[in-house]
Amino acid sequence: MVDYVIERWGLIAYQAFQHLSLVVQCVLLGSAIGVGVAVLVYRNRSATALANGVSAVGLTIPAFALLGILLAPFGFGITPAVIAVTFYAALPVLRNAVVGLAGVDRATVESARGIGMTRAATLLRVELPLAWPVILAGVRVSTQMVMGIAAIAAYVLGPGLGGFIFSGLSRLGGANALNSALTGTIAIVLLALVLDLLLVLLGRLTTPRGIRV
């Protein structure tokens, strides 16, 4: 195993970077979409229920099935991988953003409006900062989850560490097959831990002192 890793160090590092890059970009995009949709729906009770329903049902769709469906219009390659990973990344963020925005004290929002803040300013300077810890918790969940889903995206020839796992599994019993699968898996777990640590750090740095618990 050690030999295997040392021999292929360049390739592993390259794929790890690809994996990380796919996950980070998709989480950023997914978070933007999740928060954006949450902002659109959180004031309307039925729209909120719909969004929560979509995020609950969406998470139950098997990643394999979604990738399979995406293959038809987009073919193999990076496009279906990005779409699928972004889709899963957006859902936990959407749910948490809705909860976080709805959880902001109504009196605080009313006082913001009462002293003459516009709707947009109230959202940007009061509601989103107050909902931020909850939103960030959603981003962490989504990052962890998408780490694994990005591995499955290798099935459609997307980039990343999933390639090691799939090639290992397809040659099971052959030389280095187990090493290959294990390398991919362990590397993903390590990346996930590092990324989560960074997100915790980000949370520390971006949560205003007044609402830090």
Binding site: T108, R113, G116, V126, G210, I211
Partner: protein, 393 residues
């Protein structure tokens, strides 16, 4: 609505500095879809510049709705609203609100912003320069009795309820708005803190002369703070709108009489300010002074206690002469339980404070917390007896 009252109310004196503007409502109505009764039904109303008007009434009577229509947090279904000579009914609501201070329960502070950021938020929206905002924030914190150096950089959760409320008032006053709307601001603090906040509001109002509209469910609070009181019935129908004195003396019908409650003679205690009664002179001593001289002076004056003052003339304790004669120098310790009221406090507050401290009197402080004298329970009783005698006549 006559202005002739026996006791001039604290806001009605002509030479006072007035920075407020008048408010005029014309047939203001609010109907919510699906409700057959209007929440606010055709209310016409005028508030003079620089007056404090208290809105009281049972919950659900529409008083808060009416208040929120003044800054258009609730849009009226019909009717016009004028601030001074301006019809503001169709003005941009956000711009309008920056000219109207708004204080709600617990201040409505933004928990993720420091005290300074909270207070400076309206000036920032009005694009004041940074230097001016900083100066204004410090000035306002000073005005509401919070030391800027200590509190500027704190977060709301690091403050007590009373302090949060002060910051809320400071924020509402930041851009020097002519009108201040207060929606049950002191409802969530303990009675002693509430009384202090009320005293402070009276002091600030005396200095600034804003037009204040204040919603409360506490009739004693209305008596204490209001130049005028508006008593509402369902649909925000104005049942009586008059000075506290006249509402007590001539309640308009049973509804108001019920609201005012029995014991209207005792309510006189809420109308009489500490400043209105004869304060007892008292022997004072500087903390750290020689006890024997002080004891001799007190005995010569016939006092059985002495008020100890700190270097800035503020009372810090009131030992009895007997206690003092056992010491060599006047103690410098601050008595946290020293009963103190301000000149603007009502006799009701003074009596409350005495009862809470189990004392027969309270120390009265005037400007900058310096000693003004002492009010004893006998003085309060005399006022009650006088009021009773007047009622009997």
């Amino acid at each position: 609505m006559s202005e002739t009252t026996s006791v001039p109310s604290p806001g009605a004196t002509g030479d006072r500095n007035i920075s407020g503007v008048s408010i005029r409502l014309e047939g203001v109505t609010k109907r919510y879809p699906g409700q057959d009764r209007a929440a606010v039904d055709d209310v016409s109303f005028e508030i003079a510049a620089g007056e404090t008007v208290m809105f009281v009434g049972p919950s659900g009577c529409g008083k808060t709705t009416l208040l929120k229509m003044l800054n258009r947090l609730i849009e009226p279904t019909s009717g016009r609203i004028h601030l001074g000579d301006e019809d503001v009914t169709d003005q941009d609501a956000d711009q309008l609100r920056r000219r109207i201070g708004y204080v709600i329960q617990a201040g409505g502070l933004f928990p993720h912003m420091t005290v300074a950021a909270n207070v400076g938020i309206v000036p920032r929206m009005l694009k004041w320069d940074r230097q001016r905002i900083t100066e204004r924030v410090d000035e306002l914190l000073d005005l509401v009795g919070l030391d800027p150096a200590v509190y500027r950089d704190r977060y709301p959760r690091e403050l007590s309820g009373g302090q949060q409320q002060r910051v809320g008032v400071a924020r509402a006053l930041a851009a020097d708005p002519p009108v201040l709307l207060m929606d049950e601001p002191f409802g969530a603090v303990d009675p002693i803190t509430r009384q202090r906040l009320q005293d402070e509001l009276l002091r600030i109002q005396e200095e600034l002369g804003k037009t204040i509209v204040f919603v409360t469910h506490d009739f004693d609070e209305a008596l204490k703070l209001g130049d005028k009181i508006a008593i509402f019935d369902v649909g925000a129908r104005v049942v009586q709108y008059d000075t506290p004195e006249r509402i007590l003396a001539e309640p308009a019908g049973d509804y108001v009489a019920d609201f005012v409650g029995a014991g209207a003679t005792l309510k006189q205690l809420s109308l009489t300010r500490v400043a209105d009664v004869q304060l007892e002179p008292v022997t004072t001593a500087l903390a750290g002074a020689d006890s024997t001289a002080v004891v001799a002076a007190a005995q010569a004056a016939g006092d059985d206690f002495v008020v100890v003052l700190d270097g800035r003339g503020r009372p810090i304790s009131w030992p009895t002469v007997a206690e003092l004669s056992r010491t060599t120098t006047v103690p410098v310790t601050v008595d946290e339980r020293l009963p103190v009221v301000g000149l603007q406090s009502t006799l009701n507050d003074a009596l409350d404070t005495m009862l809470a401290a189990s004392q027969g009197g309270v120390v009265v402080t005037g400007r900058r917390d310096s000693l003004a004298g002492v009010v004893t329970v006998e003085t309060v009783m005399a006022v009650i007896q006088q009021a009773r005698a007047e009622v009997a006549r």
